[in-house]
Symmetry: C2
Subunit: 345 residues, 2 copies
């Protein structure tokens, strides 16, 4: 047994209650976060400043009472350190001025350990957090999945249609695979270095999994996620791996690989996830984040998930990130309710 | 048997081949459409001008060879004629200057037949198209589902998070139901009047079905769609009804109601739709529209769908709207291939 119930829960071991955290828990709904964010000047500065990033990473543990902190950073620091100029533009979100759409641009990207080595501010943040975090709380490191990172690298910004990426998938699949393989190598080193710096768990976010049809998801995303998980698992078997491919309820049957926890998004009913994956993986999730607008709606959902997952092998979470206009009080209520309803005699 | 194989196919009757059309087939990928669009000045003018709207409605039948025309219009003409000022802003999409978020604004909306009566330009377009369309081709009328319309009416524009709508769902469910019921009444009259004007089939588009979790979808959207379908079916049993709730593969088991065709979006594998719904409904769909970038990718998908649906009870379509940068040649290839692979001896 670990000294962290969160780590035990990831491995499916019995715990006194079902641990809980929230995606985007270090975020704009917290006035304390907004203060630090203001001090940093902008979002990217905050990611680059280990002292401030550590501070916001720790806030939700103290304020909301979650069982795990998640490293404050952004998935796009990886392509950024691969050599892509990154800006966060107000109202528009992240923008890469020079998207990667041909072999020349792809070959110019910094790869493998060299790119991962440039992310020192992330490793420094992890070291600071791990020093200050209570021993019984876990620190979660993370990365974006190669496919999700590739969508930004190719489109240059958020997109509704993903039409540039998809055109490449259907017309230049070799190019896509080459790009994804290059990102995959960087991500492997990146997670290794996060673990060496002190994270207790890692989560791979495939936020745009639902942008691909099944056959293409199973060719262009999931294999790279599995490759990363297998690599980390072989080297660090004591570190739990959480996979979060958002929005693929139609083919959970096809999901396999060497990881520990499957993150269930809110569009996937927990009972369906349990039926398809519950025997093979611990499940994490999955309250619809907008339920946090109402304590009643929160109660209804938490008790229902607790009933579905009453045999355990579960970690409470939202099914996507918490929204900025949620009352902090409701987030606290969610966290304490999850612990209370899952308390074991 | 009807004189239109499209109508026969909607009712699951045997046809010489599986008919085909494409969502957004009267659209920007056609240079001929762009010319008329320019003549109209802007998108909303085009919707309001029966002569020009009829012209673009008919274009894909002549140019691409589809088996059905779909009325050229926009789902938002309904809230527009309920009294909401509507603009289409370049790069931003549709905007309602005064969103409906309280009882006062809701009560001020024009309802029922009075709103439907104001959509004369739609009925005039239908009459013109039906006069000019070959007898063996079908004309599809349509509406947005009340939930999808409500998202625009409440948010005032497109949204990534639907947080204003969802906040209302979780905190003011009675208000949401009142709004949805009011839209439902208008839509019933709207479809009746479309049928009286000459459409042969109607489709209900629930484009933002996937924005809701299962339990809320089954409370706030599907019942209203079913109510509309039942109303139309009782009055016009000879008019096939197509339901298109986009992106709900996780709970097709729960789908029921008095309609004829279920539109399968590309995120739902056709084999899954067939297993869950194929015995009860004719299935429409579902090629990933981005496959139209490549003839090879189109061939692979069309032949695979044809194999899955070889016993018939199927209508070919894309799994979402065709994109503006698709080559017309590839759209023609898709349409002719669908007919060719499904030809019956």
């Amino acid at each position: 047994m670990s000294d962290k119930i969160f780590v035990d829960a990831c491995f499916g071991k019995p715990t006194p209650y079902t641990p809980v955290w929230m995606m985007r828990q270090a975020g704009r709904y917290l006035p304390q976060y907004m203060k630090v964010r203001e001090k940093a000047g902008n979002f990217l500065n905050l990611c680059h400043n280990p002292e401030l990033a550590a501070e916001v990473t720790l806030q939700p543990v103290d304020i909301v009472g979650v069982d795990a902190a998640i490293l404050f950073s952004d998935i796009l620091v990886v392509p950024n350190e691969m050599g892509m100029e990154l800006d966060f533009i107000k109202g528009e979100g992240p923008v890469f001025a020079n998207p990667v759409r041909d072999e020349k641009a792809l070959d110019a990207l910094i790869g493998a350990e060299e790119a991962a080595d440039k992310l020192t501010y992330v490793y420094d943040t992890i070291k600071l957090v791990r020093e200050r975090l209570a021993d019984d709380k876990a620190l979660i490191g993370f990365t974006g999945a190669p496919w999700t990172l590739a969508t930004y690298m190719i489109e240059g910004q958020g997109t509704k249609t993903y039409n540039i990426c998809k055109k490449l998938i259907y017309t230049e699949p070799e190019f896509m695979h080459k790009l994804l393989a290059k990102v995959t190598e960087v991500v492997k080193y990146y997670l290794e270095k996060q673990i060496e710096a002190g994270v207790d768990v890692v989560q791979i976010f495939d936020s745009w999994a639902a942008a691909l049809e099944k056959s293409k998801y199973m060719e262009f995303s999931w294999p790279y996620m599995k490759e990363i998980a297998a690599h980390i698992k072989a080297k660090y078997p004591h570190i739990p791996i959480i996979m979060f491919p958002k929005g693929i309820p139609a083919y959970l049957d096809e999901i396999d690989g060497d990881f520990d926890v499957f993150g269930v998004d809110w569009s996937t009913p927990m009972a369906l996830a349990k039926e398809k994956l519950g025997e093979r993986y611990v499940l994490q999730g999955n309250m619809e984040p907008c339920r946090l607008y109402s304590k009643e709606a929160t109660y209804e959902c938490v008790t229902s998930i607790a009933e579905t997952m009453k045999e355990g092998r579960h970690i409470f979470n939202l099914g996507h990130g918490i929204l900025p206009d949620v009352p902090v009080e409701n987030a606290k209520y969610f966290v304490s309710l999850c612990k209370e309803v899952s308390k074991r005699a």
